[in-house]
Symmetry: C2
Subunit: 194 residues, 2 copies
């Protein structure tokens, strides 16, 4: 849990005692690449912190996987609607790499709201996750799949190397073959040769 | 502000004294249809409650308006990123109808976080707004403009009558002429005649 205290302090001012109380509420575990942490339709009973690794959120539509988000360490995540409203999840969460994780039960998460700094932290995380979602929504409203891929190439090229082609294509809303064509086209473009 | 106390109590348990403290922090005003409450690029300095009326959030892309959301009374709203981070807004907010509104300054909003029930309320609203955004994003990922229009027709037909055609088309990501064609096609479809 080496990154967690520093991560928390980027959002709110926690005392050492508060950090201690928070950290002991979480339990550590590891998963290997491919593990599904949450299946669509199940109730998500934990809030997670990914200390190392990468995950994706996806759902099935007409039997096809559609990727909604990626979560890259270090970050906190859960299936929000399911965790907060105790409803069946409308998404699955899968590790795309071996992950070092920490998890907090819903009961322990509720208890942490007695700490004012945890309230501030929770609000800021919710706002940040909303901003990320809004950005993806705006990109989808205004850009083609090729432009979105080019943007990821410019700003998140390291991440692109870690995501399987099939998963990336489902995030961009295109077939894996179309993504291959875009990649070949961009690899052959003059901009790449300069 | 007739709906506001009842609205607040659907999210958290407020005492009468807390409700009183919250309500006196807001100030009432009216705007006529077409009024722009916030211009893209300005800093949003208020949290708003719309007691009566309808608004839309939009941004300009290559000189064209793109509608992001609608806010229908009774509901709380602001340009979240701008209001919380004191950054220039990445969207404009415009009244689509004459609106009865209440607004709260950023300073007074901050002061209300001393009330535990306001913290719970704020967290639940943030979660709900995130769910709405996620739903729109998912619809955009998985449905055509025509299917999204049909879904609105089935679930929000009253709202459709209140939104100008140009604004609805920009929300669906199509030209107003394409929306007219979809409307004519659906009006002539057998399903409409049964």
């Amino acid at each position: 849990m080496k990154q967690f205290p520093a991560y928390l302090r980027t959002y709110a001012s926690f005392s050492d005692a508060e950090l201690q109380q928070i950290c002991v509420s979480f339990e550590a575990f590891h998963v290997t690449a491919g593990t599904i942490l949450l299946h669509e339709g199940e109730i998500c009973r934990h809030l997670y912190f990914v200390d190392e690794g990468l995950l994706h959120f996806y759902f099935l539509r007409d039997g096809v996987e559609v990727t909604r988000y990626f979560t890259i360490a270090p970050y906190l995540f859960t299936s929000q609607r399911s965790f907060n409203l105790r409803q069946p999840a409308n998404e699955s969460i899968q590790a795309l790499e071996d992950c070092r994780l920490w998890r907090l039960s819903a009961e322990k998460a509720e208890a942490l709201f007695s700490l004012p700094a945890w309230n501030i932290f929770a609000r800021k995380i919710l706002q940040e996750v909303h901003f990320f979602t809004e950005n993806i929504y705006t990109d989808l409203q205004t850009q083609t799949a090729e432009a979105r891929y080019q943007q990821m190439l410019a700003t998140q090229s390291d991440l692109l190397l870690r995501i399987p082609q099939k998963v990336l294509a489902s995030f961009l809303g295109i077939a894996p073959q179309s993504l291959s064509r875009i990649r070949k086209k961009l690899a052959c473009s003059p901009a790449k040769l300069t």
